[in-house]
Amino acid sequence: MGAILKLLLFFIWAGLIPVLMGLLPTSYLAKHRRRSHIIIISGYLCAFSLFEILGVPILFFLKGDFDLLVRLYSIISPLMAAAGVIRCIRMGGARLPAIVEVLAARRMNAENETMQLIRQKRSSAGQAILFWAVFLALFAFQIYMAYTRASYDGDDAYYVAQSLISWQTGTMYRWDPYTGVSTSLDGRHAMAMLPMWIAAISRLCGTHSTIVTHSMIPMIFLPLSDLCYYAVGKALLYKESPARRLRMLPAFMIVIALIQIYGNVSIYTPETFLLMRTWQGKTVFANVLIPMTFYSLLLITHRLEEGRIGKFPWIVMVLVNTAAGLCTSLAPVMTSMLFIAGCLCIALSYRYKKVMFFGLLSCIPGFVYAVIIFALLLPNFLAGGLNIEFLHSIFG
């Protein structure tokens, strides 16, 4: 298969299909709110959730048949994408990215809200363009470094080797990634299926899974993380006037990008994970799912002030909680805790108790996952904690 065809297939399976899947949940938003960044983020949450929902039963009940998982995912995900496109068209379509809307309006000599704003506040617009240029330069630098620099991380010997084994053998978690000997299923770690998602994308684009992991996935996950922070920034600046928000939002993104680049104060920060272990589940948890949990909570407060919450914030949270299972074993527990505590803060601040009820409902995927994890960890819990023998039983 030619390199260009492989690249094209990668962008179809890891880019286009997940993005189109995002049209399904965003069709529950009013048309003027169906912004492209929300569609893209929702799409990846849908893709991760679907993979987890398909993968866990196959892992436990169908002997970890990776080929079957890839076949099912490659059929259902395009169907979901098609359903998203059809439903979105029926519900009035989606909004184009702001820059495309402005350019299209200029070409057709039509009026556009952003253009009006730019015309009225020329100095704000000038500053906004400058800030966006600086942010894009920082972002391009991150992408360039992600492709041209190799980050050697010991944990890759586990995660990347797991992807490779599945890509080469069509099985999941049946072989010890460190040595290759056959091993019993380590269910708890195996449930975090992001390495399998990467292996599936590699299979579908016919590329060595380690090339996909190290060279191609950062091209998807780095912008995805920035889009999540963009969504959070936009939600935080919700009450600012449009003219102020026009320049404050790119300024916010500049500081975020700088913190990412200068965030390597220790090996534990989300920023270190983002730039040095971009392809690992913990990174997606810390840099995509946690920001999206904060975004959903902010969205609930905005909708409460508007008088009606609607379905979308809850849908996002259901997707975040389901997708969390793909990342790391305790992620669903932690996102559920964060969301419920956030709902409690909202309930107290706004004196609106109902939010707790819907908050708990949208955490059901996290609870189900927690029950499974608890069942897997029960012997360890009863034994009074972890010990080296337990670790040894995990790593072989």
């Binding site: 490779l164 072989w175 500081v255 920001p291």
Partner: protein
């Protein structure tokens, strides 16, 4: 409680970003007037911070997972978003110089990621050391692409199975983890001896039925390996690759 403070200090590391975050929280407390932003970006993180420093909570966490990963609860504090938001709010009236100041503060309080010793120019699209790929390619070519057990020096074990899963190892990266420092593995121990003892190494690799043995060329004398019945196949990127004629054939296995 001491362990919790150690975790916080380890998380904060060599920079002052955590301090910048606490300053941002104080500014939010004093100046944020949006009810929703206060609830989600001030009160909610404070709840988790209180929970984090509550020793019984750490003990409970330790029952489910290793306390070595307890720092991940600090990810629930939205540090970068809070710092960035506070910066743009504080400097909103003179944003251009304000962002320059905020940017400089971040640069001064942080640490440049790409200076990290584990980040190196990529030698290939796999982002693995080229020598690990060359050594693996040579062995897979020799074995006809079949399953084979290869004894590798500790410096290569982390990488080779990210390139080829048909290559099995007698020991893997687990032996390099601090948690396994009290574990005994004859092959690994033979490699980490200051002076490599060929008898000890080959004795151990035969115990594990290794087909090939890879050793840094500078660490081994050719006549010693010949005496032990090993066949030198090649020197690849500074590594001698030996074949053990006494080893079994694994080619029909899968994994």
């Amino acid at each position: 409680m001491t362990e919790i403070w150690i975790t916080i200090l380890q998380y904060a590391g060599t920079g002052f970003l955590l301090i910048l975050y606490f300053v941002s929280l104080v500014l939010m407390f004093l100046r944020e007037d949006d009810r929703g932003n206060r609830a989600i970006f001030l009160y909610l993180p404070l709840i988790f911070l209180a929970l984090f420093i509550f020793p019984p909570f750490r003990s409970l966490y330790g029952r489910f997972d290793s306390t070595a990963t307890y720092y991940r609860f600090l990810w629930l504090l939205p540090m970068s978003a809070t710092i960035a938001y506070t910066a743009v709010k504080q400097f909103s009236t003179w944003l251009k110089p304000g962002i320059l100041i905020a940017g400089l503060l971040v640069v001064m309080c942080g640490k440049y990621t790409y200076e990290n010793e584990n980040i190196l120019p990529a030698e290939n699209r796999l982002h693995l050391p080229q020598m690990a790929i060359d050594v693996t390619d040579f062995i897979m070519n020799e074995s006809g692409g079949d399953y084979t057990i290869v004894s590798m020096p500790p410096g290569l074990v982390q990488f080779v199975r990210q390139y080829e899963s048909k290559l099995w190892l007698p020991y893997g990266r687990e032996m390099l983890l601090p948690d396994f420092r009290n574990y005994h593995h004859a092959v690994y121990e033979a490699y980490i001896e200051e002076e490599l003892d060929p008898d000890a190494l080959i004795g151990a690799t035969r115990q594990y039925n290794c087909n090939y043995v890879v050793v840094e060329a500078v660490r081994v004398e050719e006549e010693d390996m010949e005496r032990l019945g090993m066949e030198l196949l090649a020197n690849v990127d500074g590594y001698n690759i030996y074949y053990d004629p006494q080893s079994p054939d694994w080619s029909s296995m899968g994994g």
